[in-house]
Symmetry: C2
């Protein structure tokens, strides 16, 4: 479909409205009026409101998957790959805050269509593979549950859209580093003596020296 | 408002529909037809669709806050409190799957009203306090970022509704234990030798023996 010059402005307005009101509650009238057009004129650009939703979310989704695919072939320790996944995720959110929020709100974990479910699954599979590789190499604990850890990590990252503030006190890069620490290092003190003391208070003593 | 005997059935039907279609897309007609009533008869029970939403989510929200409040006064190590928060959260989800899903979809991180925002905040503050106490005691690493770790934990728990399956291969209790491991122990192997080797490959060497 031919998309004349006002297309980027329309997608921007749709993204803002989807994020504020949600996809279902936003009407084509809302979007048309936000860019000063008649609703009928929108049909020069789209067939349905869904077309606009896909236009909004395609960019952040492809950006993050692209970065993750590049990582696949790099010869890096699994811990470093986890760091880079987290950094890529937070950076994508930071650079496309409105668009990413709409993606996470309307797509992630929702099975909207085969294509989008496949994107979610590819991302999750990649995290699973990296964690599995880390276990195999002995870099990650032998008792790590690969699937649940991947779901916890992806969930914590996806939930970022509920609290991340583009003008908050921490930059995206700072948030990413702290996320890395949470998932790689964990809460329990790693210094030898405390770890031994704590070993008595937690179930998983085999994983503490 | 007097609420005769069909009230529980109406709240159940509303919960199912809100979870499947979302609150905005569900109409009072949908709910009335699910319980075989006329829409007009629903107004014997409620003033608006919002009343039904609040009825659906109040129980799981109060259950989890109640459990967390009980923890406040217990003399337990912070690591054990973190375990109990995670267990309470997963158990609430498991016992009230449909209702909890609606709460997390429509309320958590959304500022729907002062009362509900205050509930979110109380839960988050409690997690922050426990992590802060753990740092003070030296049970948790000195470099742990209290706020970001709390947000990561609450986010991972809230995201559970997107993947938890009541009939999945892991029980709620098993998922909870694995979540505890992720956040307390972290991915990196804690055995002395591997930890030393890895210390060279990650930034936060001060936290690894």
């Amino acid at each position: 479909m031919a998309r004349p010059s006002r297309w980027p402005q329309i997608v921007d307005a749709a993204a803002e409205l989807f994020r504020e009101k949600g996809f279902v509650a936003t009407s084509l009238e809302d979007i048309a009026s936000a860019v000063g057009m008649y609703k009928g004129s929108l049909y020069h650009y789209i067939d349905s409101k869904e077309d606009l939703l896909f236009a909004v979310v395609r960019e952040p989704a492809e950006q993050i998957l692209g970065e993750v695919r590049e990582l696949t072939d790099l010869d890096l320790p699994p811990a470093e790959k986890i760091r880079r996944i987290i950094r890529a995720h937070v950076r994508t959110l930071q650079e496309n805050f409105t668009y990413s929020s709409v993606y996470l709100e309307e797509f992630a974990g929702r099975h909207r269509s085969e294509e989008w479910t496949a994107m979610d699954r590819e991302y999750y599979r990649f995290v699973v593979d990296v964690i599995g590789e880390g276990k195999l190499r002995g870099d990650f604990g032998a008792a790590v549950d690969v699937r649940i850890t991947a779901l916890a990590l992806v969930g914590a990252l996806n939930w970022l859209t509920h609290w991340y503030q583009p003008d908050g006190s921490l930059s995206g890069a700072e948030i990413a580093e702290r996320f890395c620490d949470v998932f790689l290092i964990g809460l329990l003190n790693r210094s030898g003596e405390t770890a031994r003391r704590l070993a008595a208070t937690v179930d998983s003593t085999d994983r503490l020296t």
